[in-house]
């Protein structure tokens, strides 16, 4: 069923129709799920608005070789995303800051803060900088339409601006809790470029979120990166000072 909302079948009544139709119309309005509303529910089910998270990223370089990073991230929905590497030792202290479409990196010892493109690979992994640091799809993508299939919603997103890494994104989510299970990323030419699988729903501070993400680069055989959320806590008290490129080294 192609969805711009749910359809409610109204039955005819021999008596006074209006006394039933008005409440039913009210129900229809309440139950209508627009693509935008679905996107908002997905973003809410993926992560909280403001939070602190510890993530491990395992990048598979070859069959027997992996490299693992550990990151602490602070995210404030209306401010931006701040990432700091805590391991391995040679990357410790490396920091990233994303504010809207602007991304900066600071490397300890180096004097300057470097500006990066959100489209670049995140530290050589199969995630783009934007995939890794942009928690909410709705910031850069507009919901177009959705379909219902096999107990899931399939939502179609289009880029709001050309500065984002993908032209189009498709998200498969559970109908029951709006948790995303698979995300497909398309290039400007319409080619399927990356696929992210989300799994291991875990409870953090009483709410369930997918704690495992596997990003596959479909252009390179057997190339994938795994990200696992080790801990996640909601934080309303994250200081604003983290979301300022001038203070990355401070």
């Amino acid at each position: 069923m192609t969805g711009e909302g749910k359809y409610v079948k109204l039955s005819r009544n021999e008596g006074n129709d209006s006394m039933y139709i008005i409440p039913l119309l009210f129900c229809l309005v309440v139950n209508t799920l627009t693509p935008e509303a679905l996107l908002e529910k997905i973003d809410n089910a993926r992560v909280p608005d403001n939070y602190e998270v510890q993530i491990t990223i395992k990048n598979h370089l070859a069959e027997d070789r992996d490299i693992e990073y550990t990151i602490k991230a602070l995210v404030k929905k209306d401010k931006g995303s701040y990432f700091e590497f805590t391991a391995p030792a040679r990357e410790k202290g490396r920091r990233f800051l994303l504010i809207e479409d602007n991304l900066w990196m600071y490397v300890p010892g180096m004097s300057k803060t470097i500006r990066l493109s959100p489209k670049d690979n995140f530290m050589g992994t199969d995630f783009s900088n934007s995939d890794m640091m942009q928690s909410h799809f709705g910031d850069n993508y507009a919901a177009q339409r959705y379909e219902e299939l096999n107990g899931k919603y399939l939502l179609y997103l289009e880029a709001r601006t050309p500065s984002v890494p993908y032209k189009r994104i498709e998200i498969e989510v559970n109908r029951s809790d709006f948790t995303p299970r698979e995300v497909r990323y398309y290039t400007l030419s319409g080619k399927l470029f990356r696929r992210m699988l989300l799994d291991s729903i875990k409870t953090f501070e009483g709410e369930e979120y997918p704690s495992y993400m596997k990003m596959e680069n479909l252009m390179i055989e057997s190339s994938f990166t795994e990200a696992t959320i080790v801990s996640l806590k909601k934080r309303q008290d994250i200081p604003n000072r983290y979301f300022n490129p001038l203070y990355l080294k401070k």
Binding site: N59, L61, R65, I67, K79, P88, A89, R90, E91, K92, G93, I99, E100, D101, N102, L103, M105, P108, G109, M110, S111, K112, I114, R115, L116, S117, P118, K119, D120, N121, M123, G124, S163, D237, P239, N240, R241, F243, N244, P245, L246, Y247, K249, K250
Partner: protein, 332 residues
């Protein structure tokens, strides 16, 4: 002093590296043991940082050490206060920066672009998230004279114009009042940046200008290219000979036109290779360096370096034609 007091009462995080290198320079071998130790403490309302580097070279038995940073930050939002020894890097340029009036110049051989900080006091104010103003007072250590004569004052306004990252700054030092501005933007996956400075000295106006581009390449590094124009620089090398008899020039800074280039290509674990160079296109003088690194062992990098000098112009003053080196570095 303030930093020392903080350190005495706070547990600190630490990181750094230690290593050994061997080099060959005009058939002369030198060895060095080197290390770096960074201590830090970070809380929501304050942070403290120190960075220390040292290098012992033998058989010359020379010891270099530098306390690059020792600074306390306080964050009474929307204010930020900094006090101590810190790098004050104004401008977007990675190697050349016409807007940087506070720091000593980078050595052209320093591919890591390490820099010692300066004694400073800074006040930042966030007018709104996209508009931040900085006020700074800097006391350069390497200049002679009383504090009043040496001190440099500056203010810089950082702002965004439709995703264009911009700044406008003014500095006061030694009766000069240079003004600068810069702009930076990502376009087609590349970061383009430009900055200019105008300094009025006597009857003449001295502009300097930088145009640069960079792009990240995986984890290993960045490809970076800059063109730098400095109207104070000399045009003909022969003109400079009388001047050189009294002052040793810093290679890479005496002329008017320079191109800086650096890149590194490789994998997260395995071999990577990089080139870096500083070149004067009119004098056809400069140098080129090649790095080959291996980082397949956890927290260890082994690096070989070769540098070749094209000995013309100011670069003919360098005491060697080539330099070969090998180092092993352990990160902790």
């Amino acid at each position: 002093m303030i930093v020392a007091v903080f350190f005495l009462i706070q547990p600190l995080a630490f990181q750094g590296y230690a290593g050994y290198s061997i080099g060959l320079e005009n058939e002369k071998i030198y060895n060095s043991l080197f290390g770096s130790l960074n201590l830090s403490k970070e809380e929501d309302i304050y942070s403290i940082y120190t960075e220390f580097r040292s290098n012992y070279t033998f058989p010359e038995e020379s010891l270099f050490y530098s306390l690059d940073r020792a600074v306390v930050y306080l964050f009474p939002y929307p204010l930020t206060i900094a006090l101590g020894k810190e790098r004050v890097n104004w401008g977007f340029g990675m190697f050349y920066s016409p807007c940087d009036f506070f720091n000593p110049r980078y050595s052209i051989f320093d591919y890591e672009r390490l820099r010692e900080g300066v004694l400073m006091m800074e006040l930042g104010y966030e007018w709104k998230p996209s508009v931040i103003q900085e006020f700074v007072a800097v006391l350069p250590e390497d200049e002679e004279g009383n504090i009043k004569d040496k001190i440099r004052l500056g203010s810089k306004l950082n702002f965004f114009l439709n995703n264009y990252e911009c700044f406008l700054s003014g500095v006061y030092y030694d009766s000069n009042l240079p003004v600068s501005f810069g702009i930076r933007k990502d376009i087609f996956d590349f970061i383009l940046y430009s900055e200019s400075s105008f300094e009025h000295n006597g009857d003449s106006l001295h502009p300097s200008f930088l145009l640069g581009v960079n792009r990240m390449l995986g984890t290993q590094g960045i490809v970076n290219m800059e063109y730098y124009y400095n109207s104070k620089g000399i045009t003909e090398w022969s003109d400079s000979i009388p001047f050189l008899s009294s002052v040793t020039p810093t290679p890479g800074y005496t002329g008017r036109h320079y191109i800086y280039f650096s890149t590194e290509l490789g994998k997260e674990e395995g071999f990577s290779a990089g080139l870096y160079s500083v070149f004067h296109p009119l004098w056809k003088a400069g140098f080129v360096g090649l790095n080959v690194s291996y980082n397949g062992f956890e927290n260890i990098i082994i690096r070989g370096t070769g540098i070749k000098i094209v000995k013309r112009g100011e670069f003919s003053l360098l005491p060697f034609d080539y330099l070969l080196g090998m180092e092993i570095r352990y990160y902790y």
